[in-house]
């Protein structure tokens, strides 16, 4: 297969306007004739559904949540970037574009990233007009902060609840359309398969989670905005229900999966307290502005932090990266924490964390200033751990957080299946091998409000006069029957272990071998361990209850089945990529000082994998990345 990203011609600044000028349009009176399915109502999906509904298309939106106000997007704390340059610091669309390509360690597509930066300002305008209460200065204008190592203040935020407020904005916009009847809403409705007819996306198979009924829906185009797959690691900062099923099912139907091993591990999360831990809580990265990270110089030091004198502490980030110190980018900070914990210097009862210490900042600025800056985070930390961070250092450790990889899409955000579009965290498009802080919210809303409404229209324009494939087409009936069988098999197995047990075991393999540091040996071991575990799952899982009422174990079981296959592909991709870049660190490829070593010669491409059937090796297709504007350089934070 050849991958054509369909990048418009012309200088990068003009590509998106040229594209829109050349676009075939759908006249307003014709839009009602087109049906569009949107799966997922997080930032990306809600924005797309609301915008396309308002434009006059017949939209059907689906979410497994009980309400569209509750996607994982709601948990984002830090903020959203835009190139407004409201503070006269020399920021610009070009700088945001440049920073994003560099931050992604030169593994993203320039044209897409430029467009993202270009529409970023309109997102802020849109959100403010919708009533998103962003932080303001005394004069009433919008406030910004610098975030995640950026040298300009371009991050807009609403207290520590930016994701919540942005999602409420798009949720309300969507609710308006639902009320007006332009969007037909299906909640507690989980997509379990994609239906492809004559090579095009024709519709989906959905399970009603309250009655178990399997229904099929058809449309002219299908948009997946179903989020990321960090929960393949079991423990992550993602919401409990986040999963990869929609993307994986589309992959099995022919959509290529790009760079699955590009995952981001966030450095500041609260370490696990025991086996029963169900998820990890992120502590905002902003804490690193004032907290100092350290461990004892001696391995196995059992002393309380207050009893360890200054000269016996190792402020390892300040030592290794004097220029950036505690503010080194996420991937670098995470790996450095792993190094010291692996050396036996970890802190806390399970020795699985490092200290984030505010004593010096409290001494310098006073407790009041620290409380004003981080009061709510300190309170959240204390609620979870029972420790008071004003008196004793916080304990933190990295945790899986975000997946840069996802379904391959072209400039139109269309996958390799015509008519199947992918938006938000579910696609691979804009963040390369590492995502910068506050850029995921930007991307989700860019895709939903400002990109898909054009690109999907361009696709639909060519289908005027065609009706969607009827759902009594044999392909629909086949997909529905297969889904029913899959569920029936899970219920009939009646083995001896719970779904969570299998998910935890898979997570252990993944974090150990495909986490912050990866090696050929470890990845080969993971690839040897996952298939038997998967087979054991199919033989020995116990899912009680029936299909005909709410059954949370059955839902989970279906998602874990797909995580098994996805996890294998993640390891395979990590093994294939013989370089270290962004969040992907192969121990074989590092500088003598232990820094990541890219291999631009051989790996300046997107690795897009194709499903070749159960048990068969996946196929690999490459999209070469060309850098016309950004100069490739080794990232250095010394």
């Amino acid at each position: 297969m050849q991958l054509d990203a369909k990048i418009p011609a012309g200088p990068i600044q003009d590509k998106w306007s040229n594209y829109r000028f050349d676009l075939k349009l759908v006249a307003p009176h014709n839009r009602r004739k087109f049906e569009v399915i949107v799966v997922g109502t997080g930032l990306a999906g809600a924005a797309a559904a609301a915008t396309m509904g308002a434009a006059g298309y017949h939209v059907k939106a689906f979410t497994y949540h009980d309400s569209t106000r509750r996607a994982h997007s709601i948990a984002a704390q830090g903020g959203i970037n835009a190139a407004k340059d409201y503070h006269g610091e020399g920021d610009s669309i070009y700088r945001l574009f440049y920073d994003t390509v560099k931050g992604g360690d030169y593994r993203s597509r320039e044209a897409n990233v430029y467009r993202l930066a270009e529409v970023s300002n309109a997102i802020i305008d849109q959100c403010v007009a919708q009533g998103v209460p962003f932080a303001r200065e005394y004069g009433g204008l919008l406030h910004n902060r610098s975030f995640g190592g950026a040298q300009v203040s371009r991050t807009f935020y609403a207290r520590g609840q930016t994701g919540q407020q942005l999602l409420l904005g798009s949720y309300q916009a969507l609710a308006k359309e639902v009320g007006a009847g332009t969007v037909e809403l299906h909640t507690h409705a989980e997509m379990l398969d994609l239906v492809v007819v004559d090579g095009r996306a024709a519709g989906i198979v959905v399970r009603d989670m309250e009655t178990g009924e399997i229904r099929t829906h058809s449309a002219h185009a299908v948009i997946l905005a179903t989020g990321g797959y960090s929960n393949a690691y079991y423990l992550s900062t993602n919401a409990m229900a986040c999963n990869g099923t929609a993307a994986w099912r589309a992959h099995r139907k022919g959509a290529l999966f790009a760079n699955p091993s590009f995952t981001q591990i966030h450095p500041t999360c609260i370490p696990a307290s025991d086996e029963s831990q169900s998820k990890l809580t992120l502590m905002s990265e902003s804490l690193r502005n004032d907290g100092r990270i350290w461990v004892s110089k001696a391995a196995g030091d059992g002393r309380a932090p207050g009893d360890i004198p200054e000269d016996e502490r190792d402020y390892y980030l300040e030592r290794r990266y004097p220029a950036f110190g505690n503010l080194t980018p996420r991937d670098v900070a995470s790996r450095a924490a792993k190094v010291v914990v692996d050396e036996g210097k970890g802190v806390g009862p399970l020795r699985n964390g490092v200290y984030l210490d505010f004593a010096e900042a409290i001494g310098r600025l006073g407790k009041d200033v620290i409380e004003a800056r981080y009061g709510n985070l300190f309170e959240m930390y204390e609620r979870i751990t029972g420790d008071d961070p004003y008196r004793t250092p916080m304990r933190i450790y990295p945790a899986p957080h975000y997946t840069m990889g996802g379904l391959w899409v072209d400039y139109d955000l269309m996958s390799t299946i015509p008519g199947l579009f992918v938006a938000g965290e579910a696609n691979f498009s804009d963040h390369g091998a590492n995502r910068l802080g506050a850029s995921a919210l930007m991307q989700g809303l860019a895709d939903g409000y400002f990109v898909l409404p054009y690109t999907v229209a361009g696709y639909l324009a060519g289908m005027l006069g065609e009706r969607p494939v009827p759902t009594d087409h044999p392909e629909f009936e086949k997909a529905a029957a297969e889904t029913r069988d899959r569920l029936a098999r899970l219920l009939a197995t009646n083995g001896s272990r719970t779904v969570d047990w299998f998910h935890r075991e898979l997570g252990k393999i993944m974090i150990e071998h495909c986490g912050m540091a990866r090696s050929e040996e470890g990845l080969r071991r993971a690839l040897a361990e996952i298939p038997p575990l998967r087979e054991e799952f199919h033989r020995d899982v116990r899912v009680l209850g029936d299909n005909e009422s709410l059954n949370q174990s059955l839902e989970k079981a279906g998602r874990v089945v797909d995580f098994f296959e996805l996890a294998e592909l993640m390891c395979r991709d990590a093994l294939y990529r013989e370089e270290s870049c962004g969040g992907h660190f192969r121990v074989e490829h590092q500088t003598p000082e232990g820094e990541a070593l890219r291999n631009d010669e051989d790996f300046s491409h997107v690795a897009a994998w194709g499903w070749e059937g159960e048990g068969a090796e996946p196929s690999l297709t490459k999209e070469e990345l060309e850098f016309e504007y950004v100069e490739l350089a080794q990232r250095s934070y010394k």
């Binding site: 509750r70 009533g131 209460p133 919540q164 407020q165 307290s273 719970t498 969570d500 009422s549």
Partner: protein, 254 residues
């Protein structure tokens, strides 16, 4: 610690439901309340008993998915805390904990501890938004908003839509939720053009599903985000005004 749970079990909307008792042995004080339920559920599964259905997602107190009555209190004993943020430190060895779903006319039962809160969405669909087509917004800094106004709106916008206020109310009223949603938008300059239609339609829709407010104030005490009763005062005042204003506006339209 060893605990005993008294849990509401109900197989579906048609079932009458009943309490069942389950032991929860060897619970660590560092676990969250929902992790304790996870453990009990895994043990029940291995014993062949269908696990307890309960709602949850973010487990960080922000999505509003979780929410059960714990010993008669919405979200349990900790003030300003959603169920998912409650930790087992709150309990001691030997305690019995009673866990029930939200009970209100507006929230029909789905299964065990899970109820249907979609009525909240119907209220938002009727007017809880500001109309603005994508791409038509003016520059964000065109309209300065005094910092206090933005902060006040944010206080209201912090509502997570969990429904604890309804569950706490002896009348099953949704006034605190609607007031929070209404005030967030109506305190901002951007929310003014639709203010009066918003007040009227949100309240009228609310009354189709929920009981009436008689100012008990139980809702504020139960709210995990400490949403203030003051917003109810604003909603009530605006609703009364909206009745004659909307008539006048309609008259102007002709």
């Amino acid at each position: 610690m060893d605990l005993t749970l008294r849990v509401w079990r109900q197989s579906g909307p048609g079932d009458k439901g009943r309490f069942e008792e389950y032991p929860a042995k060897g619970i660590d004080e560092h676990m969250s309340f929902l992790e304790m339920l996870d453990i009990v559920n895994e043990r029940l599964t291995l014993e062949g008993i269908e696990p307890i259905a309960f709602d949850h997602d973010c487990r960080e107190g922000i999505c509003g998915t979780c929410g059960v009555m714990v010993d008669g209190r919405p979200h349990g004993p900790w003030e300003g805390t959603a169920t998912c943020q409650l930790h087992m430190r709150a309990y001691s060895d030997g305690d019995t904990i009673t866990i029930e779903p939200w009970r209100a006319k507006g929230f029909p039962a789905i299964k065990d501890l899970v109820v249907d809160r979609r009525a909240f969405d119907r209220i938002i669909e009727s007017g809880g938004f500001i109309s603005v087509a994508a791409g038509s917004a003016p520059d964000a800094n065109n309209t300065p908003i005094p910092q206090e106004a933005a902060e006040f709106a944010m206080d209201a916008a912090a509502c997570i839509g969990c429904g604890a206020c309804v569950a706490a109310c002896p009348n099953g009223a949704a006034q605190l939720f609607v007031a929070a949603k209404y005030s967030h938008l109506s305190l901002l300059p951007q929310g003014q053009p639709e203010r009066w239609t918003r007040a009227e339609s949100m309240v009228d829709t609310m009354e189709l599903y929920f009981g009436s407010c008689s100012n008990h104030g139980e809702c504020e005490a139960a709210c995990p985000k400490n949403i203030s009763l003051d917003f109810i005062a604003l909603l009530n005042r605006d609703y009364l005004r909206s009745k004659w204003r909307n008539r006048r506006l309609a008259g102007q339209k002709g």
